[in-house]
Amino acid sequence: MSKKHTLIDLNPPKHAIASAISSRYDNKPDALLEILHDIQHEMGYIPEAALPVLAKALNISRAEVHGVVSFYHEFRRKPAGRHVVKMCRAEACQSMGSNELAAAAEKTLKIRFGETTSDGSITLEAVYCLGLCATSPSLLVDERPMGRMTAEKFQALAAELAS
């Protein structure tokens, strides 16, 4: 999500978004993961400012919210690039050369897993299985699945996503 530079900030503050999403789930503490998913979907990450808001709304401690956010690999603590590429690093993909593909992807994007390209276009993340194990190696671009990935196809994909 690119940052807009305007004189007046029209975006509602982060804590207001968090609070609105929480009330969507009736502030039920068992819905914390769902709430965090929605926050990340809308903002691209879980901002620190959301934590105390959620703790208050769900009537749990801030430590508990922090504990959940930090436990799950899916939740991001800092903003992501415009596109998120989740590359499978598990065994079925390994059997079809995903380790070599992963190294090539890092080289193409000039970043390591967990990082975002300098132009802010792509965040590269490791996942363990996408259920696309008969068409490996596989990855997910935002929510689009892609199989039979190669280093060459990845280069083309990276160029497409950066444009």
């Binding site: 068992d30 799950y72 363990y128 299985c129 259920g131 194990c133 008969a134 068409t135």
Partner: protein
């Protein structure tokens, strides 16, 4: 109007089925041909995806693998009328891969429109639930027990016993939870059910609800499955509207509602107690057992927890009777298992067969050997916590007991094939590394042992006091087995020790070879 089927299964989408569907619609429009395009589930022949099917009076004609650039030529060869195009495969039902299967759970997947209730009912859907609606909980439990169904998530615990425990308890609220956190690499049967035949899962869970006296169910789906999440949510909405879910199902006194909850990238949440914690909005920390979840599960209430495939087997069992299901299989492994052929395999996909088929039959007869064409060296069965088996063990029958007797497990039926380029020391190291990444951290042998395991394997491979370190690795593995609450720490030694046992040469390479790499 001619019906054309193009799968929307994410494995088909991953190889371009969306573009194929768009191209077919555009070309049909341009040529003024009226077609109905249906986005079905996958037939499970992944090497043929995108698999396009055309309905004819003789049956469906299959074409595959089709790419968007083939579509014009398909229309030129009049593929809607006859199967003369080079991509034509003949009638889908006559393809040996499908014909030689015993599809009970996957009888409908790829045939129907996944979100059409009328399609579902026309193909036998809700027949099991209709019977269940007029039975008592105990009668349903008896039928499931008679089927011999065992938990398809991997542990193989008898489903009937689990359900009976919940059925017999008195409680103000009970729950049904579906574990759809299919995290094992090489498995995708749950995903295919949810994307391709979602009402079957709705039906199976509703039957479980009636059996156990539960009125609320949750489906915990991993966030790595965005398509499955969307389809299941739609299916629940549609089924509720059609009174197959919600209050007074089909006018009876039974009520059952369902909700989808998303996981968040934690493999450990496939462990049932960890999943319960996650469903309660907490860190996915494993709980000590007892109490078992059937007695104190979600929010401390009696809870039926099963895998997608266990619930999905139930509609057939209710419709056809437990005895019909039990007729399949061998020994104490009754019924069928949807096996998933994955990794370096020529004909990867879903093969539903009765227990008892050998690993070699699956890999060679169905799978056609390796994708690379190189010799097969190792097979990992049952996910990242399953053993690595050498080519010499391909004669093992797929059956819970036979595998256990050979230090392996059937698990969720995932079969991952590796060719002779695989480095088994690297695979053993990865097993420990994966455990370190995914451990919930509750048990020290799992949390710390896995990190030490990576280090010990590194020393073995580097040739540092190799014999002593191999003994140390064995000792560490034993500590993990003995000192972990759940399968994460308890089974990680399986891939590690099986790799050492069957492929010792990979752990004993000359030091200069290691240094040269």
């Amino acid at each position: 109007m001619i019906k054309v089927y193009v799968p929307k299964d994410s494995a088909a989408r991953a190889v371009g089925s969306d573009a194929v569907a768009d191209a077919i619609e555009a070309e049909a429009k341009a040529q003024n041909i009226a077609i109905t395009l249906i986005r079905n589930g996958s037939r499970g022949m992944m090497w043929l995806e995108p698999l396009v099917e055309v309905e004819t009076p003789e049956g469906r004609l299959a074409y595959g693998p089709v790419s968007a650039s083939d579509v014009k030529a398909l229309f030129q060869s009049k593929f809607l009328d006859d199967g003369k195009h080079p991509l034509a495969l003949g009638l889908t039902e006559e393809l040996a891969y499908l014909k030689n299967q015993e599809r009970l759970t996957f009888a409908r997947c790829g045939i129907t429109d996944p979100l059409s209730i009328s399609d579902y009912v026309a193909h036998g859907g809700f027949a099991g639930l209709k019977k269940a609606l007029v039975k008592t909980g105990a009668e349903i439990v008896a039928e499931v027990t008679a089927s011999g169904l065992r938990g398809r998530g991997g542990a193989g615990f008898p489903t009937g016993i689990k359900w009976k425990t919940v059925c017999d308890l008195k409680a103000s609220q009970k729950y049904v939870c579906c574990n759809a956190d299919e995290g094992d690499s090489g498995t995708f049967a749950d995903r295919m059910v949810m994307e391709g035949d979602p009402f079957m899962l709705v039906e199976g869970m509703t039957i479980a609800g009636i059996a156990g006296g539960a009125t609320q169910g949750f489906i915990y789906i991993r966030s790595e499955y965005p398509d499955a999440i969307n389809v299941m949510k739609d299916a629940i909405r549609i089924a509720t509207k059609a009174a197959w879910l919600g209050h007074n199902i089909q006018g009876t006194e039974h009520s059952f509602s369902l909700e989808v909850r998303r996981g968040a990238g934690a493999y450990i949440c496939g462990e049932e107690t960890s999943m319960l914690e996650s469903l309660e909005g907490k860190r996915g920390m494993v709980r000590a057992k007892p109490p078992i979840p059937a007695i104190q599960g979600l929010f401390g209430k009696p809870t039926i927890i099963n895998n997608v495939l266990s619930f999905a087997a139930v509609p057939y069992i209710m419709a056809e009777g437990g005895a019909a299901y039990k007729n399949y299989g061998m020994g104490r492994s009754h019924g069928t298992l949807p096996f998933q052929l994955a990794g370096n395999i020529k004909h990867g996909g879903l093969v539903e067969k009765a227990f008892g088929i050998t690993l070699g039959q699956l890999i060679n007869d169905f799978g056609g050997g390796t994708h690379s064409g190189r010799p097969l060296r190792a097979v990992q069965v049952g996910g990242p916590l399953g053993s690595y088996l050498p080519a010499s063990q391909l004669n093992l029958p797929m059956d819970y007991e036979s595998f256990a007797a050979n230090g392996a497990m059937v698990g969720h039926g995932g079969v991952v094939v590796f060719d002779d380029t695989v480095d088994m020391a690297a695979q053993a190291r990865f097993a420990m590394e994966f455990c370190a990444i995914e451990s919930c951290g509750k048990c020290t042998p799992c949390r710390i042992g896995s990190i030490r395991g990576v280090e010990v394997i590194d020393r073995i491979v580097a040739g540092v006091e190799r014999d002593k370190n191999l003994v140390l690795l064995d000792d560490l593995c034993q500590t993990m087995v003995d000192g972990s609450l759940c399968a994460m720490g308890g089974l990680t030694p399986m891939p590690v020790q099986s790799a050492v046992k069957h492929f010792p040469e990979d752990f004993d390479r000359p030091a200069e070879m290691v240094a040269a790499e």
